[in-house]
């Protein structure tokens, strides 16, 4: 049985359709990513799945229970790491876990038995009795993740789990999420970091303007939507060069600011040409999810 399914979801706010017909299915044990620019409808999709708001139409089911009608019961088996930190600032790390466990109807003794391992998991064993205000952003994020695990959930929702964290803190979160996957947990995460999605997700869906515009594994998406090699060309003469030579030596050229992106299956001739032009700087790399994402959602700024 799927952990979570959503079928033909729609949701409007004040006449503006924020979710315009979405289908999702999460299989047990997988990490499923929802990617999209700001305002694509990622957070609304999560809120719908948790039963915190009702869809205008469509059907959601979590562990076979209809949402929102039995969302409360379904949430007993779910952990949530929200986008905005909402740890309890009046409590210590340990107290945050204790109080949160009670919301699940757990006894103090049962919570106390779980807390040491969770603090260890969060790397906060020696900060257990520190006030939340004394913790760094990365520590708070890890504590929020530990809090989401207090009820030993089968499914974990993470809304942009590493936004605002430094690289060390991000890598630590990713490592912890891989541990959870290894334990057999199902993860549903939203992100706009492509490297995050590429590292963690077995399957993902790219959302834009309330719709899923592509879905599959990261490799499938790259294979289906983009040429495998990319050469980025920078510098003053880049645009003139692209018009005169780059366009004919690659399958596709795109310009953003002072950088030109050339996509090709075989970049040999392109690189040879660039070797002879010392005034141009360039970077050759394999195509990644970000290229797919930008191709599908465009390079315009979203606010």
């Amino acid at each position: 049985m799927a952990s979570l399914t959503a079928h033909a979801l729609r949701k409007s706010y004040g006449g503006r359709e924020v979710i315009a017909g979405i289908d999702l299915e999460l299989r047990p044990g997988e990490c499923f990513g929802l990617l999209g620019p700001n305002g694509a409808g990622k957070t609304t999709t999560l809120r719908l799945c948790l039963g915190l708001t009702e869809p205008d139409s469509g059907a959601i089911s979590m562990f076979g229970m209809p949402v929102p009608r039995e969302a409360r019961e379904a949430r007993a088996r779910v952990g949530v790491v929200p986008q905005i930190d909402n740890l309890d600032p009046d409590f210590t790390a340990r107290e945050n876990l204790l109080v949160y466990g009670r919301y699940f109807g757990m006894s103090n003794a049962r919570i106390a038995a779980r807390v040491p391992a969770l603090l260890e998991f969060a790397g906060l064993a020696n900060r257990a009795d520190d006030n939340i205000k004394a913790l760094s952003g990365g520590m708070k994020r890890r504590l929020t993740l530990a809090r989401a695990l207090i009820n030993d959930p089968a499914l974990i929702f993470l809304d942009e789990p590493t936004t605002g964290l430094d690289p060390q803190a991000r890598h630590l979160i990713w490592e912890r999420l891989r541990q959870l996957l290894a334990q057999g947990k199902t993860i549903f995460l939203t992100t706009h970091f492509m490297d995050e999605a590429e590292r963690l997700c077995h399957r993902l869906a790219i959302m834009d303007r309330g719709r899923v515009i592509a879905s599959g594994s990261p490799r499938e998406l790259i294979g289906a939507h983009i040429e495998p090699q990319v050469v980025e060309v920078f510098g003053d003469g880049a645009e003139a060069w692209a018009n005169a030579h780059g366009a004919s030596l690659s399958e596709r050229c795109e310009k953003t600011g002072d950088t030109t992106f050339c996509y090709a299956r075989n970049v040999g001739p392109l690189l040879q040409d660039l070797e002879a032009r010392p005034e141009l700087r360039y970077l050759h790399r394999p195509a990644n999810l970000e290229d797919v994402f930008l191709r599908l959602t465009g390079r315009d700024l979203r606010d």
């Binding site: 915190l52 708001t53 009702e54 409360r72 929200p82 905005i84 909402n86 009670r102 109807g105």
Partner: protein, 264 residues
């Protein structure tokens, strides 16, 4: 189902509200002493200032009781009103909007209905503590010497639910902390002055007496003052009904408005 019917569905009662109550109580315990002293400071100043100061100038005008004893009953009620209102508005708004504590709770198997019941009962519990504190001081000063005064406590709990719920209505509507000043200026301060806290309501012009009769604090005072003066209050049923009506209507309004704010 239309949005209005959805938001206006009857509250679903559950014992899960206890989790929310316990969370608030656990925070309060950390600051219990300063919090209690803060709750006592205002009513004490009024009682000492007005009670002794003003009271010296008008002995025996209150049917044989001293002015300070008259005032003490008003202070029990007004401190209950203040304490419940502050808790539901300033602290409630912090938990709803600033700290997003309610969001965190609703990600667990707890509903918004549970959260609001927990908050209303918590505001009432905290205001009951204020009432007890004032009552204890009044008793120590010899201003409440009857065991009947203990009946003031359940009355103050209902009063606390009423003012807590009305405060939660404002919290549901508020864009920021500044908004609560309107409520204090337009609702709480008039009640403080017109509902019999400082002088009997029957001293007011007829029209204002009628207005005062519609306000919840009037009915709380009408019950507590006789109880503290060793008398069974006349018209217990009607006063209790008004308080219960404010409590129920206030809570229902707060729930519908908070659902509209948070569950869209």
């Amino acid at each position: 189902m239309s949005n209005v019917t959805k938001y206006c569905a009857l509250p679903r009662l559950s014992w899960r509200f206890i989790h929310v109550w316990r969370r608030n109580a656990m925070v309060w315990r950390k600051l219990a002493i300063p919090s209690m002293l803060g709750n006592l400071a205002d009513p004490m100043l009024y009682m000492l200032g007005f009670g002794y100061g003003l009271g010296r100038m008008m002995p025996d005008v209150f049917g044989g009781t001293s002015y300070i004893a008259f005032l003490a009953a008003g202070m029990v009620c007004s401190s209950t009103m203040m304490s419940a209102s502050f808790e539901a508005m300033y602290s409630g708004f912090s938990r709803m909007h600033v700290q997003r504590t309610w969001d965190a709770i609703m990600n667990a198997p707890v509903t918004l209905d549970d959260v609001l019941i927990g908050e209303a009962v918590w505001a009432a519990s905290k205001s009951l503590l204020s009432a007890i504190a004032v009552l204890v001081v009044a008793a120590a000063l010899g201003l409440a010497q009857s065991w009947l005064a203990l009946w003031a406590l359940p009355v103050m709990f209902v009063t606390g639910i009423a003012f807590g719920s009305l405060g939660l209505v404002m919290t549901a509507l508020s864009p920021s902390y500044d908004f609560f000043m309107y409520y204090f200026t337009l609702f709480i301060t008039p009640m403080m002055l017109l509902c019999g806290v400082f002088f009997p309501v029957d001293q007011l012009p007829q029209a204002l007496q009628h207005a005062a009769a519609l306000l919840p604090l009037t009915h709380a005072v009408a019950l507590v003052r006789p109880l503290m003066n060793d008398t069974v209050p006349p018209g217990v049923a009607i006063h209790l009904c008004v308080l219960l009506l404010y409590a129920m209507a206030g809570f229902y309004g707060a729930l519908a408005l908070t659902r509209r704010r948070l569950l869209t």
